[in-house]
Symmetry: C2
């Protein structure tokens, strides 16, 4: 094994890539050697910042001999073809969540990577957030007895951020199930050990102008008896970040006076001007995230154990014991999302895959579909593709 930086090619220089920029700029374990993007402006910006080779299509990126692993950050509905192409070219893959839109595509991707003997990691997702990882360690330690119940909720402006048309079509992987539920599911599965069993859920699609699911509530049971409530609304009314110390999803302090910004910005936009707003949020489009003061988070999460309830915060884990309350900080790394790079590094340089493999991502995707199915049929949906999180290893 080498300890050389991982030579990473990037497929897609859109919003997901922009959110990874602070990591790519700061983490010396990665070297961005190539990228593929349809927009010339993005490719130019990439060469200007990182050097390396750029390609107009993902096929050429997959064939690039300088590339050791590919970060697939293309739109959801393209993940399957791009991951399979990367695997068939012998490249390891980091694919942004969700793994895929359909379970069939997801299974095809896992099989292709297995066949090719390459690592497939699904991330970033909020299951990589340091407070989530810390909570997982605390649970696994047994310090507070058995895990019993989890409650996760999040109220955001997701549906009113600028969108391309397909991001508002459920069958193309749009709406909150594939973009947002998958975060909550990933976190909750990680905390509960992974083996979901049954799902009962309701969904809401309440804005005819943005005709996709914008809210859901789900009750998820696990094989180990743990149960979890997951609730999400992307309709931009109540903002549950007030219960996260007014820290936003990406770890930045929020200005309470900025209430309603997303909806105001979008007000009066037609599909064309909305696409322009969206393009501004992609690489080379002008926006660039400032360094966060806190960890990323995905809304309030309460984890009930026998002798304490853990409350995740943007800075760590609050330990609500029987007679006293404490706090354990999750230290900030110099580069945000260092745990995503950890996962890639451990897999490619030490042969130790993370929890969030392709099969793990497929299990989380199964829960997304189960929520849709339960809501559509009014039935409880049994899960069949779940896998357990491996027993926690010692820190490397």
């Amino acid at each position: 094994m080498t300890s050389e930086p991982i030579r990473l090619g990037v497929a897609g220089l859109g919003r997901a890539f922009v959110l990874m920029l602070p990591t790519f700029r700061a983490d010396t374990r990665l070297r961005l050697t190539a990228a593929a993007a349809p927009r010339a402006a993005s490719r130019t910006a990439f060469r200007g910042e990182f050097g390396g080779t750029t390609h107009a299509d993902v096929g050429a990126l997959c064939a690039d001999p300088q590339v050791e692993a590919i970060y697939v950050a293309t739109p959801h509905q393209m993940h399957a073809d791009h991951v399979v192409a990367a695997a068939e070219a012998g490249k390891h893959v980091l694919v942004d969540k969700p793994l895929a839109v359909s379970l069939e595509d997801g299974a095809r991707m896992v099989a292709a990577c297995d066949r090719a003997g390459v690592h497939l990691i699904v991330g970033p997702s909020h299951s990589f957030d340091a407070p989530v990882q810390l909570a997982r360690q605390i649970i696994a330690s047994g310090e507070f007895g058995s895990l019993r119940m989890i409650q996760a909720l999040n109220y955001t402006d997701f549906l009113y951020r600028p969108r391309r048309a397909e991001e508002l079509r459920t069958d193309q992987g749009g709406g909150i199930l594939f973009s947002q539920a998958v975060h909550q599911i990933d976190m909750v599965r990680l905390l509960a050990g992974g083996l979901g069993q049954r799902v009962s859920a309701m969904t809401g699609a309440w804005d005819a102008a943005r005709p996709t699911e914008g809210a859901y509530s789900a009750l998820l049971q696990f094989e180990n008896g743990v149960f979890a409530t997951l609730t999400y609304s992307g309709y931009a009314h109540f903002d549950s970040d007030i219960w996260m110390g007014n820290v936003g999803e990406l770890g930045h302090d929020k200005d309470p006076a900025a209430y309603g910004t997303a909806r105001r910005a979008l007000s009066g936009a037609d599909p064309a001007s909305e696409a322009t707003l969206k393009a501004r949020r992609t690489y080379g489009g002008g926006e660039s995230p400032a360094p966060p003061q806190h960890h990323e988070h995905f809304g309030p999460v309460i984890v009930a154990c026998d002798r304490a309830d853990l409350r995740l915060t943007p800075d760590g884990v609050e330990i609500n014991g029987g007679t006293s309350r404490g706090f354990r900080a999750a230290p900030l790394h110099a580069a945000p999302r260092a745990s995503v790079v950890d996962a890639l590094w451990q897999a490619l340089r030490h042969g130790q895959p993370p929890v969030q493999t392709g099969a793990w991502g497929l299990a989380s995707l199964e829960v997304c579909h189960a929520i849709l199915t339960s809501a559509a049929t009014g039935q409880i949906v049994d899960l069949t593709r779940q896998i357990a999180a491996p027993t926690q290893k010692e820190e490397p």
Copy 2:
């Protein structure tokens, strides 16, 4: 119709009565004319404070000609016999929640009151809280479009307050389902219009020393398409009052340094000393509630409508609109729980029963049982005893 004060007899001078004391002391629409209680000390205290007649058993209270209506505040498992006895004696009834423990008892009570032509009102419950009533008015007005989703959660120290043995036995109406879930269900049904349809739920009984349900999570669908998530834990770890401005259930400002008081007070108590602690909380036992600074509440409640999410607070309703946030106060009355007296007054003096009739309470009790049944069977439970909240009348 007279406008004389209602001549109220009280059956049971325990904790429920103590919590009504500020109301009974301040609201001139009621006159406490009699009481029944097994403890001589409670009867003496009652005569000392209110005058009137006291009885050792409820049968004698029912026969008391000075009594126009009876407030049944005896232990849950005695509600049925006491309410039926009151009805058969021709007395109107205010019965503390829950209506009864079993649905059969509940139906028997409703039938007895119907047959006798007396009013049966189930209260107090947190559905009478002024912010809940205000939220109901806002929803009914249609100002913010259709109601879509409700989330209610509450994390308390319920299971570690001093208890008599039967309060920790589910079959006797103990545990959180009959004491606590019924509040949440009553509130949510009131906000959603009343007609529950199906329930999916999980419960937890995680403390072998207090072997009854201490937590649950439920997904409740309504006939009108609204769905609600209800979560409760009485295991005294995380305290969700931090999300209610550090105001406790009874409307008092909480001292954050008092974290863990209930568990500490109970620590090392055997059943006998716990019974002594419990007795201290009954009438004449020494404890007396101070006047609250805020309304009572039952934990965070978020109500999603098309154009705003309503967040209930101990002072009113926060209106989270699309682009701005506002607040509507629910003014404090001189006497807390005035809305319970309103209900009694309107029924007995104006012939207008409140929403919270016996049939309403039976419908809420049905949801309690549905939660237990769904958790036990792993199935979704269809509801058959639901009734609608009447269309909102003008304020009298």
